[in-house]
Symmetry: C2
Amino acid sequence: MTTELDVLALGNAIVDVIARAEEDFLHAQGVAKGSMTLIDEAQAEKLYAAMGPATIISGGSAANTVVGTASFGGKCAFVGRVKADAVGDVFAHDIVKSGVAFGTPAAIDGPATARSFILVTPDGERTMNTYLGACQNLSEADIDPATVAKAKVTYLEGYLWDPPHAKAAFRKAAEIAHGAGREVALTLSDSFCVDRYRGEFRDLIKSGTVDLVFANEHELKALYETADFDTALEALRGEAKRAAVTRSEKGAVIIEGKVTVPVPACPIESLVDATGAGDAYAAGFLFGYTNGMGYEKAGRLGALAASHVIQKIGARPARPLKELAQENGLM
Amino acid sequence: MTTELDVLALGNAIVDVIARAEEDFLHAQGVAKGSMTLIDEAQAEKLYAAMGPATIISGGSAANTVVGTASFGGKCAFVGRVKADAVGDVFAHDIVKSGVAFGTPAAIDGPATARSFILVTPDGERTMNTYLGACQNLSEADIDPATVAKAKVTYLEGYLWDPPHAKAAFRKAAEIAHGAGREVALTLSDSFCVDRYRGEFRDLIKSGTVDLVFANEHELKALYETADFDTALEALRGEAKRAAVTRSEKGAVIIEGKVTVPVPACPIESLVDATGAGDAYAAGFLFGYTNGMGYEKAGRLGALAASHVIQKIGARPARPLKELAQENGLM
């Protein structure tokens, strides 16, 4: 490929196994509602045997985002590791057929393709239990410098701090991107992830390794260890070049230096499954941002994409987001 | 188990792979919109490689029905054949966790678990391409007489005429049911299936091998080779003990001798995916029928279940149908 890319995403390649669950079931399984807990293969089998009938849809946070950006019409690629098994075939099929270039070779041996067992409570909140499997073998060697150099934004998920070698891949990609005059974006992933890697995430932001930070309210408060949103936002403003911070139904704020751009959330009829709300927001924002649409419009595209994915099961769009944006007068 | 069952279903054990598709794609693949086409493994691989990103959810017509009846609170069991592979594990997990007893052993070798590649066009219509795989090995030996004898209704799908030995299993189950003073129900499955087995289906109805027939308008017209609904309905009235005939948004009619009970459809907000509409109708009707609720109420439960499943992706309920029925004052 010689064409310029809008977004190259680097993340965990995961297939979601999504089931409804009552809050009592979460308690019985000992998982904290709204969290992402890492589990091993034995725990994964036990949980699957206990949970209800499921819907299986490709997922992975950064993968969801780049699929969303492609659904708006963006040119995108993804780097992530699956195994050559039935679940890996599903992941690869879905991302490629979503119009995202995906060339990371599947592992022939080692752990199985990653699965996230997602429990959706009646209030629409999702609680994730992730078996990382083959993602644990993502490494620096998977980063192709030419691909990174041609992407306007290289998008990295905080969850990459969990597998042992992905962090090195992350740093290598960021270095190549900046060397080519490109930008690097980071999502903080979730508040539990921030708790695990707070210091390193703040270093990435303060050192300028990332140019654009995505966070939700909970992640931001966790990052600066405060219960006060405004305090956390001002702390981020002082450290980050620019950031988009989402607050569910309260909308989002985009900040850059002294500039603050508030963007309202899109109204929804009913919250079915919150899985992928943040991923979809980043998808829309990145499409607008990499196509020079300005912060307000980029934020509106993000809000629109988020409102779409939370009104159905699964994190990925059920129809082309470009069509949805056109119907809403945004494209 | 010694408890009486409401419904025992016998059918093809299939996992659905569902993707959006434009009508042009159907033309390019040479499949007739709205049909169920049987494909072999090579065709399945080719179609999967061509179709878009998919959602994977357990399916199978009779399996969907019995999961739906169980979701209303009915006591149900299912007989059908999977292979001991990843897809077979998904089918078994989902039906068991839906509260349906499922004891047919998975095949250790032979063809893979069945998959139906379902293309949903923007109008919500579904076109199915089914690889029968392991279903082809369902046979008489899989019928447990004691289980059949304790089921108020043994429910059989017309699609069982497709695999080579399932027909014998069907006949054996019907014989045991009648020997135990129980009833047998048949769904005509789809109009293409009726075209393949018209004579045999009419014999099953006329001979009294089935006590209750489920059909939609298209299947009924195909059965009696007429374009006129009333002509077909009167022909069925003359041959069947009783029947429930669905007509999409026009509602359904239940007939028994000279009695005709019309039941309106439930209004819907938007048709997302018609997959499983007929299966869900049969689920609700059978729950009401086996619990002595009368034709009108049984028909209303059927209409409610159908309206629920067509407003989302996949054929199975996304929430307990009992709750939905309670909210609508039907239970």
